[in-house]
Amino acid sequence: MSVALPLRPPAHQVDRRAVRWWQLRDLITVVVLVVPQLVALALGWPGWLAATAAATAVLGLVYVLVVPRLLYRIHRWEITDEAVYTLSGWLVREWRIAPISRVQTVDTQHGPLQQLLKLASVTVTTASAKGPVTIRGLAEEHAAELARVLTATTQATPGDAT
């Protein structure tokens, strides 16, 4: 039995380049995990390290090839007149809804990898510490435009957002 949430998925997909971004990010993690094992091996540690290093590398590469594509298929976002709505997560699926009238701040972030790929994330925060909604992996110019529009809408909405 598999029952999904009877909400329609958000309308938009993230930018295609987000797949590259996630792949690079995960590749770095794999390298960070594998290199110390190889160094230890070179320094004369027991041979089973070769096996674990190989296993890490293979599993890591499979992850890099499979998961980012999956994430791209799943990650979706939408701004309606009333809400910011996102869907994310490949294992634990998570839907987040933030009413526009409750939005306090709109931020854009560009990590180093995102800058390389001309990507950005937009985070919308509300008065709750657990309320932020982040749209990851948008094209840079698109994110800036989105942040501008969101800021304008939230400022035009009356209320103190709590």
Partner: protein, 521 residues
């Protein structure tokens, strides 16, 4: 309800670079966070009596360290005396600097606090974000007639940034601040009107019979520490070596017989826990009163040595929670707390009362929220789908099975069989968690209950929900349930309805927020 236009959205806290804003710069208004219209509001300092209180309190707190330094020195050698004097002088100097570089002011729109002399901090809270004011007077403050003012606000930040503290101002000033900061209606209400305002209404006061719940709270564990610590100090002062005494006593007991030894030790620990928890209850709850003030706040006053007064703006109260830790529940007790933004861990999560009989807890929840009990914490709850109840068992027993297996691997003769006790215990916990699970939507509130070791019934105002999160793990996907979280500015930030059917989750969200969620279905 008329809402003011949203001003600057965040309480900003910044610390200037110590290199270019060192101790020599005098504190003053920051160019870009102070509108020119408020520039003339004068800056105020903390009470000058803090010049005495802070150093004295620090010295008392460091007394054990001083004692060690002074006592360990060799006779005739004065170095240790100099070290102590130097340290004391440093404390005094730090105290003076701290006072000198701490300034605050209340402008019509904001509360501003500048503090720190090495690491300068400028903090500024918009006044319409202030939700709670907590006055705390520890013993050292009370002797000098002072009080610490903690201002809790609703901002998206983490606990540390969700408010600020003035440590400390005079009691009169603190009371004045409490009224001024939470009273938002009256920009120009004349002073006389305030004096003829109706007196505060008492909603609850301490009943010493509630003392029977003290040993049932988790603080009885802290009680053991307190009693043990006090005994240790007394014996130490008397010149005995408590560590050796205890060791000798245990040795002698074991020689008389292991069973007696274990029994006696258990009784001692139990007695310590009970006495300690009674003392702690008295210290925390002496003089407890819950009142509704004419300025529209709920106010909790309590404390024997440390006097506390917590004020929560009623208009900003987003709901109530009745918590029943397992021991307290066994004794038919419970404790109610307020859900409002700006309640930090310091105010013990906004507790409105000591542990009390369950009926009293629900009564206080009801008067605090100004809603009948059957619409909030006593509402009849809808049970969750069978899959949700099944998951309570699998989640309680699964990890336990792993633990038991591990125990058998480590030591199959004693530890393994002994660990089998866990299985029925956890099965009972799972059964209870399944039985407790429930939620409902009443006229004004979302009510949800869960938990066995600590059973919590949360009633959250529909209007206090400022967003939704729905999570579904792979296991939940197979079981056909989701966890719905109602995001709110109050309390822990989000309250969950565990394992509901996806259809129910969406129906619930749509009922509460038709404009927002409706178009998404």
């Amino acid at each position: 309800m008329s809402r003011p236009a949203r001003p600057d959205l965040r309480a900003d806290s910044r610390s200037a670079d110590p290199l270019d804003a060192g101790p020599s710069t005098t504190p003053g208004p920051h160019p870009d966070d102070t509108p020119s219209s408020t520039a003339e509001v004068p800056w105020r300092r903390l009470d000058p009596r803090m010049l005495v209180v802070h150093p004295v309190a620090s010295v008392i707190r460091l007394l054990p360290a001083f004692a060690v330094i002074l006592l360990t020195g060799r006779e005739g050698d004065l170095t240790h005396v100099w070290i102590s004097l130097g340290a004391a002088a440093m404390i005094v100097i730090f105290g003076v600097l701290r006072w000198r570089f701490t300034q605050y002011r209340i402008t019509p729109d904001r509360v501003e606090l500048h503090s720190g002399w090495l690491r300068r901090q400028r903090r500024s809270l918009p006044r319409d974000r202030i939700r709670t004011v907590d006055l705390t007077a520890r013993l050292e403050h009370r002797i000098f007639g002072l009080s610490v003012v903690k201002i809790g606000s609703a901002t998206g930040g983490t606990g540390e940034h969700a408010g600020l503290a003035l440590d400390a101002v005079s009691k009169a000033e603190a009371d004045q601040l409490r009224r001024e900061l939470l009273d938002r209606s009256p920009a120009a209400r004349p002073a006389e009107a305030r004096q003829v305002a109706p007196p505060s209404i008492e909603l609850a006061r301490l009943d010493w019979a509630w003392l029977r719940f003290a040993p049932l709270s988790f603080s009885s564990l802290a009680g053991i520490g307190i009693v043990a610590g006090a005994l240790f100090n007394v014996l130490n002062e008397a010149g005995a070596n408590p560590g050796r005494l205890a060791g000798d006593a245990v040795d002698r007991l074991i020689r008389t017989g292991l069973a007696t030894a274990i029994g006696l030790i258990a009784i001692t620990v139990l007695a310590a826990a009970v006495i300690g928890s009674l003392l702690l209850f008295a210290e925390r709850w002496y003089g407890y009163r819950l009142t509704r003030e004419p300025d529209g706040t709920l106010r909790v006053r309590r404390g024997l040595l440390t006097r506390r007064s917590l004020s929560v703006s009623e208009r900003r109260l987003r709901g109530v929670e009745v918590a029943e830790p397992i021991l307290l529940r066994a004794g038919h007790g419970a404790q109610t707390r307020a859900l409002a933004a700006g309640l930090t861990k310091d105010s013990q999560g906004g507790v409105l009362q000591p542990p009390v009989p369950r009926g009293e807890a629900h009564r206080v929840a009801s008067v605090a929220a100004a809603a009948p009990p059957e619409e909030i914490t006593c509402a009849p709850l809808r049970p969750h789908p069978p899959a949700a109840r099944r998951r309570r068992f699998t989640r309680a027993l699964g990890p336990t099975l792993v633990l038991v297996a591990a125990a058998f691997v480590v030591d199959a003769r004693v530890l393994g069989p002994a660990s089998l006790v866990l299985l029925p215990a956890m099965a009972v916990v799972g059964w209870d968690r399944a039985r407790v699970l429930g939620h409902t939507l009443t006229r004004g509130y979302l009510v949800a209950r869960q938990g066995s070791v600590v059973r919590r019934t949360v009633a959250l105002q529909r209007g206090g929900v400022i967003g939704w999160r729905v999570r579904q793990s792979p296991f939940q996907r197979r079981a056909g349930v989701v966890t719905l979280e109602a995001v709110t500015a109050a309390g822990s930030g989000a309250y969950s309805v565990l394992d509901v059917a996806p259809d129910d989750a969406v129906a619930l969200m749509t009922t509460v927020d038709p404009d927002v969620v409706g178009p998404l279905t």
